[in-house]
Amino acid sequence: MLPPLLRRKPAVAVLMCVPLFGLILGLVAYPFFHALFLATLNKAETAFVGLDNFSFLFGRQTFWMVVRQSLLFALVAVVFKALIGLAAAHAINTIPTKGQRKWRGMMLIPWVIPPALSTLGWWWLFEPTYSAINWGLTKLAVPAVPWLSDTFWARFSIILVNVWVGAPFFLIMYLAALKSIPGELYEAAEMDGAGPWQKFFYITLPMIRNIIAITTLFSIIVTLANFDIVRVLTQGGPLNTTHLFATYAFRVGIESGDIPLGAAVSLFMFPMLAILAFIILRNVRRRAASLA
């Protein structure tokens, strides 16, 4: 059978975790520290410049725009994703069980298509000359919208597409949460004379509060770090007014070849992500504890 060393549980256990550990260490932890190192070099990566890259960024108006835009983008998009997801989940949960699968399946399609590819479709919908949305608006006697060329509408567009891609995730999470609420609670509430709104505010919301929190925090991370939509739709334009951390880092680091500066831009996401991750972890733990 097994050699003596492997018969002991911890030895086998550690052995089985070695590939995972190697992956996390070599391709996540190491790159992270390497990024910290890179961010302290000059553009040619020949000299140590300390925090010069960061102070350079702090002095650039574009960088502060990127910070503001990223936060605005993440917050607005997540709020709408959460609202649409909750409304859709509630609607699906209201209709007879038989038809629920079908509706859910249709609504998940945006989330199933690789975002870079579906964003191509949106790009075509926003195309200045041929925009099929504008064609519809014109028929309704609404003036055509400059979707991607005007700052406000460009920001609106990337948020719209992000909401379109991400709302189904909220839908799934909320629907699962709604289904986990025992029906008896609603029956008891009905006995106590609660109406639909009261049932929603006094039973549904408190029961799924934790899932709402975890899903929202999680989505803020993903949205804050978004790349595909802006990259395909606007490439950061017009005049850098739609750049996010990721697209700006790509522009600076890969396209302009200033790898240290690009690394510095990316790293700006880290404190925010770390705080969010900490809160999520605490929530997940608390939830696990409350279930135990």
Binding site: P10, V12, A13, V14, M16, C17, P19, L20, L23, I24, L27, V28, P31, H34, A35, A87, A88, H90, A91, T94, I95, R101, W103, L108, I109, P110, V112, I113, P114, P115, A116, L117, G121, W124, L125, Y130, A132, W135, W164, I172, M173, F218, I221, A225, N226, F227, R231, A246, A249, G253, I254, I259, A263, F270, L273, L281, V284, R285, R287, A289
Partner: protein
Amino acid sequence: MTAVPVTGATSLRANRRWALIAAYACLGIFVVFFLFPPYYMLVTSLKTNAEIAELASNPWIVTDGVTFSHYEHLLTESSFPRFFLNTTIVTVVVVAITMVISVLAAYSLARLRFWGSGVLATGVFLTYLVPDTLLFIPLFKIVGWLGLLDTYWSLILVYPTLTVPFCTWIMIGYFGSIPRELDEAALIDGANHLQMLLKVFIPVALPGLIAATIFAFTVAWANFLYPLAYIYSESEMVLTVGTVTTLIKGDVFHWGGLMAGALLAAAPPVILYAFLMDYYIAGLTSGATKG
């Protein structure tokens, strides 16, 4: 006395009916919102170039006859089949690597407990929260050192950082929910660790395994940032980047081919979901909520 419950019942029924009508109306609006872009992509891909270029007619329907010429062109005269093959190779290899690493680690972390296993499990969860956009620049350097720049092997190297943490996490959840009695029964039946894993844990947690596989597949198929940053040669490109970069040639009237390419590239994950959606949803929701 009898009249009161009767009116109560009808108003209750009326309430329910209104709730139902509101729900369906709401769902109708959402479905239109969620489905009109792919619908428009499909319509465009079936139009002739002349019709696409024509501004007067209704863009939302095909008026001038359906054509498959965009798809034909894509499959016979472009690099699209090459992209498809590359994507398939990358995805299959990444899924295989991911499942081996995740299943081994999840079994160990869910059941065997060793010094530091709790910390490692938390580490897995935190790694899952690290987005691709945080580390793509240092990974660019690493890929370069390894000589993998401009080959799809770079993707095979880095994609597991995106897939393994989540897959391990949900497999820990699935393995953890297997009653301990079952391992004990297998132990008394004489199973060693490998037999326990292969003959008891994996078959019992098959739904979780399917969910994890779909997740890994989707991530590997859909990623856009890494191939955009690391691959420049058309022969090494994968579908996402290939479709976005090479099919756009500044030709204003190439929209039909672009939409056809996007739809074909999106087809495998969509088809996979159509059949295995329930597994994936179960895995996703349990992964995000189980502690």
